[in-house]
C-alpha cells in the first residue's frame, strides 16, 4: 500500500531532512494507488492497476538548486537521494529567480478523501463497464468507455519548518455510445472525489439517449447562433481562460490580460457583469487540497467579480519584483449559476443550438484567446422552446472573452473535471464550417 498516514510521511521526510547539509532543503513525498478499466465494441479491452510512490528532494546552495527523486524510503536510500540533490545543486548554474523555501504555514483541513473511492475493487470496475455495455447492446448501440479511480496522498516538509499533508481520492468516467448504423453518437462524463455519488447506469443512459436522438442529423448553415452550452461544452474554453491569469505574462505584455500602453487589466471589466468566477478548495462539491506544490496555502479567492478582474496569479518571484503578496494559481474554478434547468433554458429559446461538448480545442490567437474546435456527440437544433432535430457537427472559432460578453442566461451548476460550471445560454456564438463527423 503506497498511502502513508500523516505521521508516517512526516517520519520519512524528517529522516531524509536529517541528512541535509545544504543551505536549505525541501522534501515532497507522494503515493497513489489507481485502477482502470477500458472497454470498446461492447467488450472489455484492457484493465490495469498502478501503484506509485515518490520522494523528491530539492536542495539549494545560494541560488543554485538541484532536485533528485527516489521511490525507496529506507535510510540508505534517503541518504543517497539527499546527497544526489546536493551534488546536482553544486553543479547547477545559478538561477536568479530562485526563491528559498517558505516557513511554517497554516492550512485548512481538506475534504478530498473518500473511503468508498479508496475501496473500489476490480469487480466494481467490471460492473461499471457492464452498466454501459448491457443497456447499449439491447438498444443497437455500441459503447466505448473508460473508468479510472485513484487514492493518494502528498506531503511536504522543509528545513524552514514547513509541513503539509493531504489525502485525496478521485474517480473519472467517460463513455461514448454510437448507434450501430453509424449515424448517431452520444457521450457523457462524470467525475467525483466520492464514488458513492456516481451512478453508472444513469450516466450511461444519458449517452445512449443522446446517441439515439442524434441519428440522421440535418445540415444547417454555419454562422452566428444562440447556443446553450452544457458545462462539458464550455469548460474547455473557460479552463483556457482561467489558465491564462498569470500576472507576469500580463505585465510582460504577452497575454490577453496585458493592457494597451503597458500593465495588466486588474480592476477592469472584461466580461458580462453577471459573471462571477472564484475558486474554493473547501467547496463540498469540488474539493481540492488546501495547499499547492510550493506549500502555499490555498484559500477561497475571487477572480472575476461582476465581470471585473479582481485577482491575477503572482508567483513568489514576480510578487517580490512587484512588491505585492504572492497569489497562488487556483485549484478549481467555480462559476456562479442561476436556477434555470437545462429544460428551462431550452424552453426560453426561440431559435438556437444545444451543444453537448466541444472537442479538439486549440488556441488560434493568444492575443484574443481565440480558440477553434468542433461540436461532438449530440448537437441539436432548438426552435420555439423545443429540440426540433439533431444537426451535423460544426467547427467553431470563438474566444471565451467574446462568449462571456454575449451572455444571455446562466443555468444550474454541474461538476465537470473538478470544477463547478453552470449551463449557459450565449448569443452570436461563431460556427465557421460544417463537419461530416458523427
Amino acid at each position: 500500500m503506497a498511502i502513508y498516514t500523516k505521521e508516517e510521511a512526516r517520519r520519512i521526510m524528517e529522516k531524509a531532512l536529517s541528512f541535509s547539509t545544504a543551505d536549505a532543503c525541501e522534501i515532497n513525498i507522494s503515493g497513489s494507488e489507481s485502477g482502470n478499466i477500458r472497454y470498446a465494441r461492447n467488450t472489455v479491452s484492457t484493465s490495469g492497476h498502478r501503484s506509485n510512490q515518490t520522494l523528491v528532494v530539492q536542495s539549494n546552495f545560494g541560488l543554485k538548486s538541484g532536485v533528485a527523486t527516489i521511490d525507496e524510503f529506507d535510510d540508505a536510500s534517503l541518504k543517497k537521494v539527499v546527497e544526489r540533490a546536493e551534488e546536482l545543486a553544486k553543479l547547477a548554474p545559478e538561477n536568479p529567480e530562485f526563491m528559498p523555501p517558505l516557513g511554517p504555514q497554516t492550512y485548512d483541513e481538506s475534504i478530498t478523501y473518500s473511503k468508498a473511492t479508496a475501496n473500489i475493487t476490480p469487480g466494481y470496475r467490471a460492473e461499471v463497464a457492464a452498466s454501459s455495455i448491457n443497456p447499449a447492446a439491447s438498444k443497437d448501440v455500441t459503447s466505448a468507455g473508460f473508468l479510472n479511480d485513484s487514492a493518494g496522498f502528498s506531503a511536504m516538509l522543509n528545513s524552514n519548518g514547513l509541513f503539509a499533508y493531504n489525502k485525496s481520492t478521485n474517480v473519472n468516467f467517460t463513455v461514448t455510445m454510437r448507434t450501430n448504423d453509424g449515424t448517431g453518437s452520444g457521450w457523457v462524463t462524470r467525475d467525483f472525489n466520492d464514488v458513492s455519488k456516481f451512478d453508472a447506469v444513469e450516466a450511461s443512459n444519458v449517452a445512449i439517449d443522446k446517441a439515439i436522438m442524434s441519428r440522421e442529423a440535418k445540415a444547417i448553415e454555419p454562422g452566428k447562433y444562440t447556443v446553450i452550452l452544457e458545462p462539458a461544452a464550455s469548460i474547455g474554453l473557460l479552463q483556457n481562460m482561467f489558465g491564462s491569469i498569470d500576472a507576469r505574462t500580463a505585465d510582460e505584455g504577452r497575454s490577453f490580460m496585458s493592457k494597451e500602453g503597458g500593465g495588466n487589466k486588474l480592476g477592469e471589466k472584461i466580461i458580462d457583469e453577471r459573471i462571477n468566477l472564484w475558486s474554493d478548495p473547501l467547496h463540498p462539491d469540488v474539493p481540492t487540497p488546501t495547499w499547492n506544490g510550493q506549500g502555499q496555502p490555498l484559500k477561497k479567492m475571487k477572480w472575476i467579480e461582476n465581470g471585473v478582474v479582481k485577482n491575477l496569479a503572482y508567483s513568489r518571484y514576480w510578487a517580490k519584483q512587484k512588491g505585492v503578496d504572492p497569489v497562488p494559481f487556483p485549484s478549481n474554478a467555480i462559476m456562479d449559476g442561476g436556477n434555470a434547468s437545462l429544460e428551462d433554458l431550452i424552453k426560453s429559446t426561440r431559435k438556437g443550438i444545444l451543444v453537448t461538448r466541444l472537442w479538439y480545442i486549440r488556441g488560434v490567437d493568444p492575443q484574443t484567446l481565440l480558440y477553434t474546435g468542433l461540436t461532438r456527440d449530440g448537437t441539436f437544433y432548438i426552435e420555439n422552446g423545443r429540440i426540433k432535430h439533431p444537426v451535423k457537427n460544426f467547427r467553431f472559432n470563438e474566444s471565451p472573452i467574446i462568449m462571456l460578453n454575449n451572455l444571455e442566461e446562466l443555468g444550474q451548476q454541474v461538476r465537470i473535471n473538478g470544477n463547478l460550471i453552470p449551463y449557459m445560454k450565449v448569443r452570436d456564438f461563431t460556427f465557421t464550417s460544417l463537419s461530416d463527423a458523427v
Partner: protein, 546 residues
Amino acid sequence: MKRRDFIQYAGLGTGALMVPSLLMGSNISAEALLNPGLDVTTKKLLADVALNTAKSAGATYADARIGRYLNQFVFTRENKVQNVQNTESFGIGIRVIANGTWGFASTNNVTEDGIKKATMQAVAIAKANSKIQKEPVKLAPVKSHGEVFWKTPIKKDFKNIPVSEKVELLLSANAAAMKNGANFVNSALFMVNEQKYFASTEGSYIDQDVHRIWPTFGVTAIDRSAGKFKSRQALSAPMGLGYEYMDGLDSEKIEGPAGLIGYRNSYDIIEDATAAAKQAKEMLKAKSVDAGKYDLVLDPNHLGLTIHESVGHPLELDRVLGYEANYAGTSFATLDKWKSGNFKYGSDIVNLFADKTQVGSLGAVGYDDEGVKTKKWDLVRNGVLKNYQAIRDQVHMIGQNESHGCCYAQSWNDVQFQRMPNVSLEPGKEKYNIHDMIKDVEKGIYIAGRGSYSIDQQRYNFQFGGTVFYEIKNGKIEGMLNDVAYQSNTQEFWNSCVKICDKNDYRIFGSFFDGKGQPSQVSAVSHGSSTTRFKDVNVINTGRTI
C-alpha cells in the same frame, strides 16, 4: 500526458518548467548518463525468467521488454539558465496471452524475484479478463530473429557532449534573438536515449539503442503602445539523430522564399533565432488576411502536421475499428472504402507511405515493440487508399497475415499497442523547386512552420494555422500576413493537391508527443514531404477584437 498539456508546455511561454511527468525518471548527474547499464547477457537471463515463468503459468505467448530510458533537458530564457535535468528510468514490462486474452504487468524491481512476481500478475490479469473476453487474441506469425542489435545511426551521442556546451549554444541563440529585436525568448533542448531489450517466446532477443533530439525556442516581440504581441516558434524539427543535428551545416540548408531557410538533417539554431526575432517584429505590422479561396504552398515543416492529422490518424486500424471511439475518435476511412479498391483519398500525384526505417526520422527502429522487423509500405498510391497501419493482433481483421511492425510503448511501464509509424508524402517525380511552386500562383499563401491545428473525431473537417504566412500575388511573394487559418475536408484537400517539389526539397517534420490511448501514452513520429501546392483552399481570417 495529454498532448494538450505538452503543447502548452512546448509553447515555451513563461513559467512551466516542470518536465512532463511521463518523460521523467529519477534525476541523475550528467556523468551518470554514461553508465552503460546492464550487459546484454544479463538482460537475456532476466528476460528468460519472465518468459519461462509465463509459460509454466499457462501463458501461450509472452514477451518481456527491459527498458532503460535516459533523458537530458536544458531550459533557458533570455540570458538565464532555468533548468538542466538528467533523468533515468529503468524497469521491465511483461505481456502475456493466457486463455486467448492479453495481460500486462511491469516492475522496476528487475531481479529474478521481482520479474517472477510481475509475470504471475500479468498471467492472473489475463485469466481474469478472459471471462469477459468476446474476441480472443489472434496473432499474425512473426519470424524469430535470434539475438540481434540495432542502433540509431548517430554521429555524436548527446551524453558525451558537456552540458556547458549545450547551455552556451542556447544562450547564444537567445542573445541573437534579443539583439535582433526580440522582447522575450525561451529555448530548450530535449535529448532522449531509449535502451530497449525485447525478448519473446517466439525466439527473438532484440537489443536496441534509440536516440532522438529536439532543439526548440519561442521568440516574442511586443508593441506595448498598441498592446500587441507576436510569437515566432523555431523552424527546427525533432529528429531521430544525435547531437550532430546541432552542427548547422550549410549543405543541409534549403533557401526558401522571403529569405526563409529550411533545414534538412542539420539545424542552425542561431541563424533561425535571428530570423525569428526579425519576423516576429515584422508580424506586428503585417497585414491581416482577406478571407477567401487561395492556392496554398506548404513548406514541409508545416505540411507534416497536416499529414499527421489527416492521413496518419485516420489510417490507424484501431481507430477505424472503434477501439479508440471514446477518446481520439473513429475514422472516415472505413473498411468498405478501402475494400472498394478505388477510394480516391487524393489526386493522382498523391502517394503516401508509412515507413519505420527512414534514417533521421523519430519512428525509425530496427524492430517494433513486439519483435517485428520494421518496413516501409504504401498507404495511398496514385491517390487511391491502399492500406492501414496494423500490428500482430490486428492484421487478420483486414485479411493480411504479416504485421506492419508499428507497435510501441512509451516506457517499460506501459503496455505496447498500435502507434502511428512515420507517414510521409512521396516527393514529386517532375523536377520542381520551391520557387517553381510559387512562380505560377496568381493568388496564394506560402505557409511554414506548425501552428494551431484542430480536426474532427472522424478526421473529415480540419483547421490549421502556421508559424509564418506570406502572401503570393502573380507569382511573387508580396509580404507577411497575419490571422491566417485554412479550413478544409481531408478528401477534398488531398484531391486539390496539384504540384509537389522533387526529392531535393524533401525534409522531415516531427512531433515528440503524439498522444493516444486511455490511459494516454505518447509516441514520437516524423512526417516527410517536399514543398507542395494545393488549389483553391478556404482561408479564414482569425483576427478578433476583445
